[in-house]
Amino acid sequence: MAASEGIEDLRTAILEMIGKGPDQPRDDEAFNALALRMFAYQFQTNEPYGKFCERRERTPDAVRSWLEIPPVPIAAFKELTLACGPVEQAVACFMTSGTTNPEKRGRHYHFTLDVYDASARTFFKANVLPDVDRMHLLVLGSPPDLMPHSSLSHYLWVVCCGFGAGGSMYYIGKDGLEAERLMADLRAAEQAAQPACVLGASFAFVHVLELCEQRGLRFHLPAGSRVMDTGGFKGRSREVPQEALYRLIGEHLGVPADRCINMYGMTELSMQCYDSPLRRRSLGHREVRAMEAPPWARTIILDPETLAVAPEGERGIICHYDLATCSSVVGILTEDLGVATPEGFQFMGRVGGAESRGCSVSVDEMLAATEKAPA
C-alpha cells in the first residue's frame, strides 16, 4: 500500500471544499474522492481506527466508496484515543459532557482549529444569518475560558467573533445564568432598532423561559430577530418538545417559530447540521422541518438490523461522514435515532428507549430504576 499523503494536503483540500460555500452543488464524486483520501490517511495514522477497520476487512485498498468507510461508534471516543497524531500536540481537546458517566468522557483532539472554524462559520452564516452579515448576539452559553473542553463553547465563540455586532454578550458565567443582566439586555434589545439573535443550548432556553414565566415577563424582540437552540436536555432541565419550546419562545421572546433554528452538533464532529426555516426561505425551498448537513458532510440513516442505508422514511441509527473531521475519523455512528426525508433528516431521540415487552428487565430500565431509587 502506498504511503498516504500528509495532513497538510488534506486540510488544504477540505478548506477548498468549504470555501466553495454552503450552496455549492452536492458533488458526490468530489466528496467520495476526498473521503477516500481522508480514510487512507486516518487508517494509517490513527492506530486503533486502523485495527477497527482491519477487523472488518475494510482497508484503503478494499474501500471504493465513502459508504464503505467503517463508521466508528461514538462510544469509541470514550474507550480509545482516536487521533491522527500525538495528543500532546493537540491545540484543543473537546470532551463530551459525560452525563451518564463522568469518568468516561469522549475526547476529540484537534491539531488545528482552522478547518473546524471555517466549517462552523460557513454553515452558521447560511442557516442563521443568511440575510445579514452581523447581528446583536445574546449567547446563552459560556465563553471558552470557562469551558475549554466544550465544543459548543468554542463554536459559540467562533460565531460570536465572526458575526456578533457590538453589544454581543455571553450570559452563562461561572455562577450559572446571569439572569438579571440577561433580562435587562433583552429589554434593551426590544427597544433597539436592529434585530437580535438569542442562541445557545436548548436547556438554557428552558431555564430562561421558566424565569420569564415566573416573573410574568414578555419580551418583543424587534422584527427580524431570531433564535438558535441546540442539543438535548440531558437531565439538566425538564424535557420540552421542540414545538412547545418554540411556542414558549414565541410567547416570551416574541420570536415566531418560523424564525427559530435548531442546530445539531456533536463533540465528535467538526460540522453542524441545521433545521433552519430562514435558510429554506432564502433558497425558496418548501417549508418542512428537517436537518441539513453541509456539503462537506453526509448524514445517512442505517437500518440497525443490516447496517445498510435505510430507505427514506424509515427509522434507523444516524451516521455522519464529515470531511471536516480530518484528524480523527470521518465516519461516526451515533447513538441517535433518525429518519431520512427528502429534505435531509429528522432527529428522533437517543437509542436506549428499548423496553422489554414484559417482565424481563433491559439495561435501560434498570438504570432508570436505579436512578429513581434514593441514593
Partner: protein, 457 residues
C-alpha cells in the same frame, strides 16, 4: 366454539351482541362482571375442584393433540401480531400448557393446599383442630402481558382452580391467546367458561379499569415495574393484589459440568434458555457464569454457546425487532468490540449477519443486564462463593438461576442465593419452563387468592 373465531374478546353470550363495536365502557364492564358472578354462583362455585381439574385438563388437551387447530390458529395469529416467529410461539405454548395437565394441576393444588377439597367444603386439616374451608375471590381481574405467549393460561387456571370468576385484559401487543384459550375451555364446558370473560381495553382507560377493580375481589397483574405500580395504585383497599413485575435470571455452570465430552449439549441447553421468547421472559438468563478450573475453559464455553445460539436461530429464528431494540444490540456490540480493541479481556461472538444473536465473553465478572433479544454475556467465575457479592446490586430483581453442577454444590449455591431473593434454582435447559407449582417471585400461586374459614371444635 371454534378456534377460527378471530375476536380478541370473549364475553358472556347475553352481552356479546351489544359489545360488538366501540371502546368498552365502565358500564359494560360492570355488566360483564355481574354476568360472570351470576355464572359462577350458578355453576363454578358449586363444581367440585376435581371436576374443574378434569375440565381444564381436557381443554389443555385440545391444544396438545396432534394437528390441534387451537395451536395452529394461535401460532399463525400470534406470529402475525407479535415479533415472535410461529415456531417459537408454538413451542412456547406447548411447553407451557404441558405443565397444565391434570398431574400438574393436582400437584399445584396439593403443594399449596395439602387437601384440595378444602375448596369444596369444610375439611379437617392435619395437625390443626377444627374444620377448614378456603374460598377464592368471587371475581378476579387479570392484567396480562404479551411477552410470553400462553402465559395468560396459567393465570386463568389459578383463578378457575379457586372457583373465581375471571375477567382478563389481554396485552395490547398480544391480544390473541387469552380469548382463544377461553374458547377452548368453552369447547369442553361452556357453563364453566361462562365464568371467564376476556375484554381488551386501553391501559390508559382508567374508568374501565376502575370499574373492573371495583367489581373484583382480587387483581393479578403481569408487566413492567411501572405498569405493575400503576395497577397497584388503582386497586381499591381490600382487594387482594398480586403483581409480577421485572425480574432477572442467570445461569451458573460449575467446573464439574465443564466436560469436553458434554460441553456442546450443555451449551445447547443454555442457548435454549437464552433464546426462547428472545429473553423477554423473567426466566430468561442475562449472564452465564462459568466456573474456572473445569475441563473446558470458560472462553471455550463461550464459543460453544455461540455455535449453539446459531443452531437455535436456524431452528427458531429470533423475532422482529423495533429500531430501538436493534440499535441497542448494535450499541452493546460496539461497546464490547471497543473494549476488546483497547486490550480488555473481551471477546465478541456474533451472528454472521444482522443482530440475531450475540455472545459477549468478558472477564469482568460484574453482573450486566442484557439489552435482551438474544444478547448474553459469559463471564468466568473463580468460585461459586463469589456470586452473592456479584449479584447483590441486582438482588431486588433476581428470580431464576439455572445451575449445571453436582447436586451437593447446587444445594450449597441455593443456600447462598436464597437470601438474595432467588426464588428458583433449576436445571440449565429448563429455565423457561417452571412447573405450575413454582414459587413465582417467591410466593405461592393459589394461597394469595384465598380466604379461609374455620369451624373450631
Amino acid at each position: 366454539m371454534n378456534p377460527n373465531d378471530e375476536r380478541v374478546s370473549f364475553l358472556p353470550p347475553e352481552i356479546q351482541a351489544e359489545a360488538g363495536a366501540g371502546r368498552p365502557t365502565a358500564a359494560l364492564v360492570a355488566e360483564v362482571a355481574a354476568c360472570l358472578s351470576a355464572a359462577r354462583e350458578g355453576y363454578l362455585a358449586r363444581l367440585p375442584v376435581a371436576e374443574i381439574v378434569e375440565t381444564l385438563d381436557r381443554s389443555v388437551g385440545l391444544w396438545l393433540e396432534a394437528g390441534s387447530p387451537w395451536l395452529d390458529t394461535a401460532g399463525r395469529r400470534i406470529a402475525a401480531t407479535t415479533p415472535y416467529s410461529e415456531v417459537m410461539v408454538r413451542v412456547g405454548i406447548t411447553r407451557l400448557l404441558e405443565g397444565c395437565r391434570k398431574d400438574g394441576l393436582i400437584t399445584l393444588l396439593e403443594a399449596e393446599l395439602g387437601d384440595p377439597e378444602v375448596l369444596d367444603g369444610f375439611r379437617p386439616r392435619p395437625g390443626v383442630r377444627g374444620l377448614h374451608r378456603a374460598l377464592g375471590p368471587a371475581l378476579t381481574t387479570h392484567i396480562f402481558s404479551g411477552n410470553v405467549p400462553g402465559l395468560p393460561a396459567v393465570s386463568l387456571v389459578h383463578g378457575l382452580l379457586v372457583k373465581s370468576a375471571n375477567l382478563g385484559k389481554p396485552a395490547a401487543d398480544e391480544p390473541i391467546f387469552p380469548a382463544l384459550f377461553a374458547r377452548s375451555i368453552a369447547a369442553v364446558d361452556s357453563r364453566l367458561a361462562a365464568s371467564v370473560a376476556i375484554l381488551p381495553w386501553s391501559g390508559g382507560d382508567t374508568a374501565v379499569a376502575a370499574a373492573a377493580f371495583a367489581a373484583s375481589e382480587a387483581v393479578i397483574a403481569y408487566g413492567s415495574d411501572d405498569s405493575i405500580e400503576s395497577v397497584r395504585s388503582r386497586v381499591p383497599p381490600g382487594v387482594r393484589f398480586v403483581g409480577h413485575g421485572h425480574r432477572l435470571s442467570l445461569a451458573v455452570i460449575g467446573r464439574e459440568a465443564m466436560d469436553p465430552g458434554s460441553v456442546a449439549s450443555l451449551a445447547e441447553r443454555v442457548a435454549h434458555d437464552v433464546s426462547l421468547f428472545d429473553q423477554q421472559g423473567c426466566v430468561s438468563p442475562h449472564v452465564v457464569y462459568v466456573e474456572g478450573g473445569g475441563g473446558v475453559p470458560p472462553e471455550v464455553f463461550a464459543e460453544e454457546l455461540a455455535a449453539a445460539m446459531a443452531a437455535f436461530e436456524r431452528r427458531m429464528p429470533r423475532g422482529r425487532l423495533t429500531t430501538e431494540e436493534g440499535a441497542a444490540i448494535r450499541q452493546a456490540r460496539a461497546e464490547a468490540e471497543l473494549r476488546e480493541l483497547r486490550g480488555d479481556r473481551v471477546r465478541l461472538l456474533v451472528s454472521p449477519a444482522g443482530t440475531a444473536w450475540t455472545v459477549i465473553y468478558e472477564e469482568d465478572a460484574a453482573f450486566v443486564p442484557s439489552c435482551l433479544n438474544r444478547v448474553v454475556r459469559v463471564k468466568p467465575l473463580a468460585n461459586l462463593g463469589d456470586l452473592p457479592a456479584l449479584l447483590r446490586p441486582v438482588s431486588r430483581y433476581l428470580q431464576t438461576v439455572g445451575a449445571a453442577m453436582s447436586p451437593e454444590r447446587r444445594n450449597r449455591l441455593a443456600d447462598l442465593l436464597a437470601p438474595l431473593g432467588v426464588c428458583r434454582v433449576c436445571s440449565v435447559g429448563g429455565m423457561p419452563h417452571p412447573p405450575l407449582h413454582w414459587h413465582h417471585d417467591g410466593g405461592f400461586n393459589l394461597l394469595p387468592l384465598l380466604k379461609w374459614t374455620a369451624i373450631e371444635e
